[in-house]
Amino acid sequence: MRIFVTGIGVVSGIGLGVKENIDAFRHMKHGMGKVTLFPTELDMPVSEVKLTNEEIKSILALQSNKTYSRATLLGMLAAKEALDDSRLNISSCRVGFISSTSVGGMDLSENFFIQFKENNSKGRLREIAPHDCGDSTEKIASFLGVQGFVTTVNTACSSAANAVMLGARLIKNGHLDAVIVGGTDSLCKFTLNGFNSLMILDKEHCRPLDNSRAGLNLGEGAGYLVLQSEKTIAQQLYCELSGYANVNEAYHQTGSSPEGLGAYMSMDKAIQKSGVPKESIDYINLHGTGTPTNDLSESRAIQRIFGQRVPLLSSVKAFIGHTLGASEGIEAVYSVLSVSKGIIYPNLNFVHPIKETGLVPVTHFKDGLNIRHVLSNSFGFGGNNSSLLFSSVEGV
């Protein structure tokens, strides 16, 4: 059975909706700026979605006095766009919703905690009730009207890739006819401080794949795909989800191995699963966070697989930041567009290749190319590494 992408939706620091995101890439407009969402001592660039929670509620016609975590609101925007785009009639077949998030309702919990810490009978309960990861998923599902299988994945930064994979497998195993898959995460003080304590944030605008790279910038947003098999497809489709793999590097709780074993295994297995000859892969959307270790190990893994014939590649992280649990939701949307519209995204802030590997990414926006297969990577804490492969329908 083949799995196709029939709808896409995205919100990120560079725009609301697919069109705004592509326009931003075309005009080389990144989303980095100062933190405005919450008070913080840390002066780190981040890529915020340029909408307040109140503005999002108004766009979605939600009651303004209801409390939603920001991840929920961002997820609603992107998942709704994806579902509308697919023109899927959700009452006509078994539709599921699988969402990933790494922070859940932490943006509200950290407010609750300030008062609760002083006096544990204080703190508004409506700010702690959405703490768990399942809350945003259930609220988004209910907003979309999805009543079938609903669940939540959290494997940190690779979460959304695993949501995509689970959705595809549920269709292949006959449990669902169609599924909305992806992830959502909002910026919050907790994660900003967490990554700061790990000393992997760059105080400057991040420089993925550049020899001078010094860390990552965080971002927020959401991205979802609608997946269907050939059995239920009514009309348009973007591309095929032809391969996927999830492996564990089993090297370190947060760091990646210098030789990039996990990255190698996940890319290699995803390619093998698809049956696509690796020479036919035209573009790699890198995990490319901009940390010294990630970009080196990912580059080495790519060279190990592709040798001298490395496909075009780039990282979008300097545009949208590392959006953690949403990252492969958003970047899967970009990868789908790469295959269906022949787009290659520019890798911002690249000047000098990494000394050890010498890989040179694409630095200008390109479209209308003939892109047959796109590999997209996401690697996370806990050694969780995942890769997805999207293929043009003619090319399979």
């Binding site: 913080t40 001592e41 840390l42 790494s102 859940g104 919990s109 950290e110 905690f113 300030i114 609760f116 810490k117 544990n120 009978s121 309960l125 702690i128 009730a129 703490h131 768990d132 990861c133 399942g134 809350d135 998923t137 259930e138 599902a141 009543q147 299988f149 609903v150 669940t151 939540t152 994945v153 959290n154 494997t155 940190a156 695993n162 689970l166 497998r169 549920l170 292949k172 195993n173 449990h175 003080k189 907790f190 401080n193 967490g194 700061n196 304590s197 790990l198 999830n246 492996v247 564990n248 590097e249 089993a250 090297y251 370190h252 709780q253 996370g380 804490f381 806990g382 050694g383 969780n384």
Partner: protein, 318 residues
């Protein structure tokens, strides 16, 4: 796709021992030194990580790590004490000089990651965090992995009570007449039975709020039919009664109207109420099937706060 048979070949559990007069049921934890031998690593681990990792290691003790084709974990609330620790430090230190360890260990996939790291398991590894359906999603994934050709899948769930989570749940009114619980449970599911096999996992179904008893009855009938059974074949109905009348009514109706002839069993009186309590029910049911030859099919029906509902069917049929 036809579901291949899926055998429960190893089980392990760390759980409370039932009512001891307290309002919280805490798991009876083993001496972790014997299981997690790396002292430095053990010291850094919070309680839920130790519970989860030790339970998983015990469950796999008859297997080489290379035999595991997947590690699938589930948790409703994840690593709460590390989350609280980092949150407190963040507020106290006004965002300065924070120790990253509790942040690193606050993500719910820490346990799955640690299992992979300690045992050098490079295989498929995923963590589900969906309230009362976290463990059920893990089981569904595990069954699909077996269907797709895996030989052995490690699947498990864990949640911990912390003072903070207890206080908050109490303030929310979730613990009226209910004991808060916790625990860790792991299972090796395999495509082939062996001399240690406990039972066969036949099917799992999950759904959100079910309004009427009729709708639930239909759902159960459909689930049983899809597994080649009807209500009369269910020898034991195990329900998630937790002592709160409003939530227990639906279980009582099921017992009296749908399964009047089956024996009726519960599990939250032992393990307490928490998001992944159904993993304890699964452990208990596997034990019953191994020990009581009169019982062939056990249906576990659980709901979490009447929002997340699940059905799990396990059978002696080996």
């Amino acid at each position: 796709m036809m579901q291949k048979k899926c055998y429960i070949n190893s089980i392990a559990s760390i759980h409370p021992e039932g009512d001891d007069g307290c309002s919280q049921l805490h798991a009876c934890e083993p001496d972790y030194k014997m299981v997690i031998t790396n002292a430095g690593l053990r010291r850094r681990m919070s309680r839920i990580i130790k519970m989860g990792v030790a339970c998983a290691l015990n469950c796999m003790k008859n297997y080489a790590p290379s035999q595991m084709d997947a590690v699938i974990t589930a948790t409703g609330l994840g690593c709460l004490s590390d989350t609280e620790k980092f949150m407190n430090a963040l507020i106290d230190n006004e965002e300065r000089l924070l120790n990253p360890t509790p942040f690193i260990q606050s993500t719910p996939n820490t346990i799955g990651g640690q299992i992979a790291l300690l045992c050098q398991i490079y295989a498929y590894n995923v963590t589900y965090t969906h309230r009362g359906l976290s463990f059920e999603t893990a089981l569904i994934d595990a069954m699909m992995r077996i269907n797709e050709g895996d030989g052995n899948v490690l699947v498990g769930a864990m949640d911990e009570i912390t003072e903070t989570s207890y206080l908050i749940m109490k303030r929310m009114g979730l613990l009226k007449g209910v004991k808060a619980g916790e625990g860790a449970h792991f299972f090796v599911l395999g495509k082939e039975p062996n001399e240690n096999t406990f039972a066969q996992l036949k099917g799992v179904d999950t759904f959100m709020t079910q309004d009427s008893e009729e709708a639930l009855g239909k759902r159960i009938d459909k689930f049983l039919t899809s597994n080649g059974l009807d209500r009369m074949d269910v020898d034991c109905l195990m329900t998630g009664k937790n002592g709160r009348q409003r939530l227990d009514t639906i279980y009582e109706k099921m017992e009296s109207r749908l399964f009047p002839n089956a024996c009726h069993s519960t599990f939250k009186d032992i393990c307490g109420e928490y998001q992944t309590a159904s993993a304890f029910a699964f452990w208990k049911a596997a034990n019953i099937l191994k020990e009581d030859a009169m019982i062939k099919n056990i249906l576990i029906y659980n709901h979490y706060n009447n929002i997340n509902h699940s059905l799990i069917l396990i059978s002696r049929d080996i």
